[in-house]
């Protein structure tokens, strides 16, 4: 059984990551194939930084051998379930 650890591996989540500047957000978006008009650089950067601050808490977890869970079957936990 996989377990999770709420403690941060050393140096993983504790190091503050500087926010993306607007020009960096624009470059990242460009690399993703989405050219952004100049008037959107700042707001996209701010939103991306906020999303990053929320999502980066997952770096605290030690996932071990845990696989990702795309489009799973909710019934598979029951080994006697009908297939």
């Amino acid at each position: 059984m996989t377990t999770y650890s709420p403690t941060s591996p050393p140096g993983v989540a504790s190091v503050p990551v500087p926010d993306l500047a607007p020009v960096e957000a624009a470059r990242w978006a460009q690399r993703a194939g989405l050219p952004l008009p100049g008037d959107r650089h700042a707001i996209v950067a701010a939103t991306a930084n906020h999303i990053h601050s929320v999502v980066s808490v997952l770096r605290e977890l030690d996932f071990g051998d845990t696989p990702p869970a795309p489009a799973y079957r909710a019934e598979e936990e029951k080994h006697d379930a009908q297939i």
Binding site: R40, V44, A48, V54, V55, L58, Y72, Q82
Partner: protein, 470 residues
């Protein structure tokens, strides 16, 4: 049930209307015309519908009436009008997603759920508003059924408001972070987010494949139990669809005696940063369940620190992926709040997405173990009642300030991440008269158990009236 002189057909629950149709006391045509009249009366104030399909509905109702006259009944939904959230395809009609991006859209074929409802004899009366592409929690086009100055909730706001106001006997919504249950709670109706994969999503516009669910909004728990079986069953066209025989929506045969039922009452998370009147109403409902024989058991909810991170880590990049083309070709047609989230989603690294997928695995496993200790978990559906339209934040007594969207998603999202079923049931009103919802959560495919508990609660309290549409 015989209809009293004061009960108009649009006021009937699905169950009551079905009994009246079956007994030939009510014709599907009469019921439809009553609902259409109600729509005409309240829609100017509510804005629940994107489209009302009166003429096709009249043809369907006439067919249902002819079949009834010949003694042919397709089941409990025979001749019952239904509204579909406008993310759900119906052949030959627009699926607008309440978005200008979809201008000129025409669905080529029925979604799986639209086809199943049609086969069950339901009469499609119209399509209802969603927060644009389901990417939000308020549905700004639609007014709350109890207070027109307050949000409908979302994203299935139109469906919840239509059902609450008597403008549809039942409706379908979608739920990615609470989008069935949130508006259900805020408008005083029942909303069921089934087990992930139980109801097919084929032909339903996606927000996030890992989290999306389709389910019913009804006025009563009994109605939800009637609608669910018409929606379930394996769909070979969808990878996540569950196999046949996996679950049914029928009420549990043990009935409404709850003796021995272990009701989990969360010690953490679900009662944190919750309005006092909401907490009081839910705790009173727990006491009611105990009066009915249930045994409250305190439970510790696992991994709550990672709920929002996992929800966002899955939803943000998946929504951006779904909208990849139109974000590049017609970005100006999105509403500002949706466009910015879609753009920012382009900047999320794959590593963050994979961590969210792995956290989803861990959370599912932890929640499955939780149901070794209890049969159902009871919690508030949302931490606050419907806020005034335009209000963007909620301030909590602990000094924190939370966006309305984050607050409305907070208690619903665990069931989306873990795939467990969640049923939202009205449990009263606050002092201002605004509805409060309680959610019942169960192990995967435990819909019958949740419906049984919800029905037991519902039958122990006075019958709810339609929303006043103020």
């Amino acid at each position: 049930m015989r209809r009293s002189e004061v009960t108009r057909p649009y006021e009937l629950s699905v169950a009551a209307a079905a009994r009246a149709i079956r007994a030939r006391e009510l014709s599907p045509v009469e019921l439809l015309e009553s609902v259409l009249g109600r729509i005409e009366e309240v829609e100017p104030r509510l804005g629940a519908y994107t489209a009302v399909m009166a003429e096709p509905a009249r043809r369907s109702a006439l067919t249902a009436e002819r079949e009834a006259a010949e003694g042919r009944f397709r089941g409990p939904l025979h001749g019952i009008p239904v509204a579909l959230k406008d993310l759900i395809d119906v052949a030959g009609t627009a699926t607008t997603a309440s978005s200008r991006v979809r201008a000129g859209h025409r669905a080529q074929s029925d979604s799986a759920v639209a086809a199943r409802l049609a086969a069950a004899g339901a009469v499609l009366v119209g399509k209802t508003h969603t927060h644009e592409f389901a990417y939000g929690l308020t549905t700004p086009q639609t007014a709350n059924a109890w207070d027109g100055g307050r949000v409908a909730g979302g994203s299935s706001g139109g469906s919840a408001v239509a059902v609450a106001a008597g403008a549809a006997p039942f409706a379908l919504g979608t739920d990615t972070g609470g989008s069935i249950r949130v508006p259900a709670a805020l408008n005083g109706v029942v909303g069921l987010k089934p087990t992930y994969g139980l109801v097919p999503r084929h032909g339903v516009t996606s927000l996030s494949w890992s989290l999306d669910h389709v389910g019913p909004l009804t006025r009563t728990v009994e109605d939800a139990a009637l609608v669910l079986p018409a929606l379930t069953g394996h769909d070979p066209g969808e990878p996540a669809s569950l196999a046949p025989g996996g679950a049914g929506g029928h009420l549990d045969e043990r009935g409404t005696d709850l003796t021995g039922l272990r009701v989990g009452v969360p010690l953490n998370y679900y009662f944190d940063r919750v309005e006092a009147e909401v907490e009081d109403a839910v705790r009173r409902a727990v006491e009611r369940l105990a009066d009915l024989g249930a045994r409250p058991v305190e439970v510790e909810i696992p991994m709550t620190r990672y709920v929002q991170a996992t929800q966002w880590g899955l939803m943000v990049p998946e929504a951006t992926a779904y909208h990849e083309r139109t974000l590049r070709t017609v970005p100006d047609r999105y509403a500002d709040d949706v466009r910015i989230l879609l753009e920012a989603g382009e900047l999320m690294p794959a590593g963050d997405y994979l961590r969210a997928q792995r956290a989803q695995t861990l959370m599912r496993q932890a929640w499955i173990r939780l149901f070794d200790e209890v049969d159902v978990i009871v919690a508030p559906t949302v931490p606050a009642v419907a806020v005034p339209a335009g209000q963007e934040t909620l301030a909590w007594p602990d000094g924190t300030v939370e966006s309305v969207s984050d607050a409305y998603v907070r208690l619903s999202a665990p069931a989306n991440i873990t795939g467990v079923p969640s049923l939202s049931v009205p449990v009263g009103h606050d002092r201002a008269g605004l509805p409060i919802g309680m959610q019942l959560l169960g192990r995967p495919l435990a819909e019958a158990e949740l419906l049984r508990v919800g029905l037991a609660y519902e039958r122990s309290v006075p019958v709810r009236a339609l929303a006043p549409v103020l």
